[in-house]
């Protein structure tokens, strides 16, 4: 059994600075247990070395901490280690993994498991924890109940527990820690419970890291990284960066070199994704902000069926707090009720720079549109919605409350909600 593990700290980022301290301690634990490991520290925690380690075919488990989002997990300085559509699935055949990274269970780990990774443990939303500025961070009494609890699962799996057993033990420990903290700091307790609730795994719950060499795997040596040699630049030397920022901003920057003249063009769009209801015979306004860019933005929709948008050209001006503008999306009267997942594309003509953001559109015929901010009781949906079309639901049997557009256990035949 051999473990690939990381310390992605040392680039001025607080979260990974804290996490790195815990993974240094985890590495000591691996050594104390006689578990062989490849430890990528600091600037070595990047894509090329990560893939090289996995290509040796003897890694059976990955324990990693770094920033992430639904589609991506990153290493040192947010270098992309794996991303939906941008990783080599053959490297993960037979390799179980556990990522303490925001959100990546939701899409990336699911994608990996669908392509041969046997087990993946992670978090479906943003992982959040308290920090009290103790040095070293691995001794911080606020951070410990969070990160040590996550690492408990990795340790249990390396000691022979199955993925599902380790997962349940971790969730139980989050609950235990919440009870310990409830009197002293209730918000620490609540945050522990939130992290427990977004904790998830995919794949075979009976899987556990195996002793000895792995099965033979097919190694494909071609993959994309930021370090790949760029194509010859006929007109532009293009550097393209896409990052999610605090305000849900996606940015792109193009450095244009044309006719010996150099100019910089950057574009940011927030939010980084949108989700909204759209009546088939009506329209919905969605607010955006553009950043850094001055000039005309051309707006187009991709993979959103007959939905249209206006205006299709928005003149924007770079300003400190972003340039606000509103797009109006029109439904397709010929289309029924369905959820559409596509993209809104923003093209900055002056800089030849473009950004696509994900759009989830709940396209509905008029009778099924929830009444905003009011109690509703329709055949297809019962609950109460806010102005974004999201809804609260009450599980009548359990007496528990849930948040979301739909609740999977809610059966409108069994109960109803009425206005007070």
């Amino acid at each position: 059994m051999k473990v690939l593990t990381t310390d992605t700290s040392d680039w001025g980022d607080l979260a990974t600075q804290i996490g790195g301290s815990f993974w240094q301690k985890f590495k000591e634990w691996l050594d104390s247990q006689g578990i062989e490991s490849v430890f990528l520290e600091h600037a070595d925690a990047q894509r090329v070395k990560w893939d090289q380690a996995l290509a040796q075919k003897d890694i059976t488990f990955i324990s990693h901490n770094g920033h992430g989002n639904y589609t991506t997990v990153t290493g040192y300085n947010e270098d992309i280690l794996a991303q939906v559509g941008n990783y080599n699935p053959s490297l993960y055949q037979g390799v179980g993994l556990s990522f303490l990274s925001c959100g990546c269970e939701k899409e990336l780990i699911k994608d990996m498991v669908s392509k041969g990774c046997p087990f993946g443990n992670g978090y479906s939303e943003e992982y959040t924890f308290y920090y009290g500025y103790t040095e070293p961070p691995c001794e911080d009494r606020f951070a410990k109940p969070f990160i040590d609890t996550h690492l408990l699962g990795d340790k249990l799996m390396l000691q022979g527990k199955t993925g599902a057993e380790a997962f349940e033990a971790v969730n139980q420990e989050y609950t235990n820690q919440a009870h310990i903290w409830q009197e002293e700091n209730a918000d620490v307790a609540a945050t522990l419970l939130y992290d427990r609730d977004i904790h998830a795994y995919d794949g075979d719950g009976n899987w556990k890291p195996k002793e000895g060499p792995m099965n033979e795997v097919l190694i494909v040596k071609v993959y994309m990284t930021k370090k790949a040699p760029p194509p010859p630049p006929p007109k532009y030397d293009i550097k393209f960066e896409v990052k999610e920022k605090a305000v849900g901003l996606v940015t792109a920057r193009v450095v244009g070199i044309s006719s010996g003249r150099r100019g910089k063009f950057a574009l940011g769009i927030s939010p980084s994704s949108v989700e909204f209801d759209l009546p088939a015979d009506g329209s919905t306004n969605v607010n955006f902000s553009a950043w850094y860019f001055t000039g005309d933005l051309e707006i187009t929709l991709e993979e959103l069926g007959g939905i249209t948008v206006e205006p299709t050209i928005v003149p924007v001006v770079a300003q400190d707090n972003g340039y606000p503008f509103t797009l109006t999306f029109h439904g397709d009267p010929s289309r029924g009720t369905e959820d559409l997942i596509g993209y809104v594309r923003f093209y900055g003509v002056a800089g030849n720079v473009a950004i696509k953001i994900k759009a989830i559109v709940h396209h509905k015929v008029a009778a099924e549109i929830p009444i905003m901010g009011a109690a509703i009781s329709l055949n297809s949906l019962s609950g109460i919605t806010d102005v974004n079309g999201e809804a609260w639901f009450r599980d009548m049997d359990a007496g528990a409350y849930h948040w979301g557009v739909t609740h999977p256990d809610y059966n409108p035949e069994e109960g109803d909600m009425t206005c007070p």
């Binding site: 925001c102 920090y131 500025y133 951070a143 939130y194 901010g373 409350y401």
Partner: protein, 90 residues
């Protein structure tokens, strides 16, 4: 009942009624809770592994307004806390 419990109940509201709270109501409830804390407690930070910067406790209300995902985090956290600690008291 602690200030935190009261805040959670304001967000999750009691039992039988439909649960709709505008952002302003959530912010108000969280602000009332934050106001009960000491300066040291207000300076503690929430850290996240999503590339977003840490948020000081004193800035929770502002973050709820500015960041929809943080608002959703707060609501879900309150529901989890309610289900774990407060439901049986109701």
């Amino acid at each position: 009942m602690s200030a935190y419990d009261e805040m959670v109940l304001k967000i999750v509201q009691k039992g039988k009624k439909p649960l709709f709270l505008a952002t302003a109501k959530i912010v108000e409830a969280v602000q009332q809770y934050v106001d009960t804390l000491s300066e040291e407690e207000k300076d503690r930070e929430l850290v996240r592994f999503g590339g977003n910067p840490p948020i000081k406790v004193r800035d929770f209300p502002r973050a709820i307004v500015e960041d929809k995902s943080f608002q959703e985090f707060w609501v879900r956290k309150s529901i989890a806390y309610y289900n774990e600690f407060l439901r049986e008291k109701e």
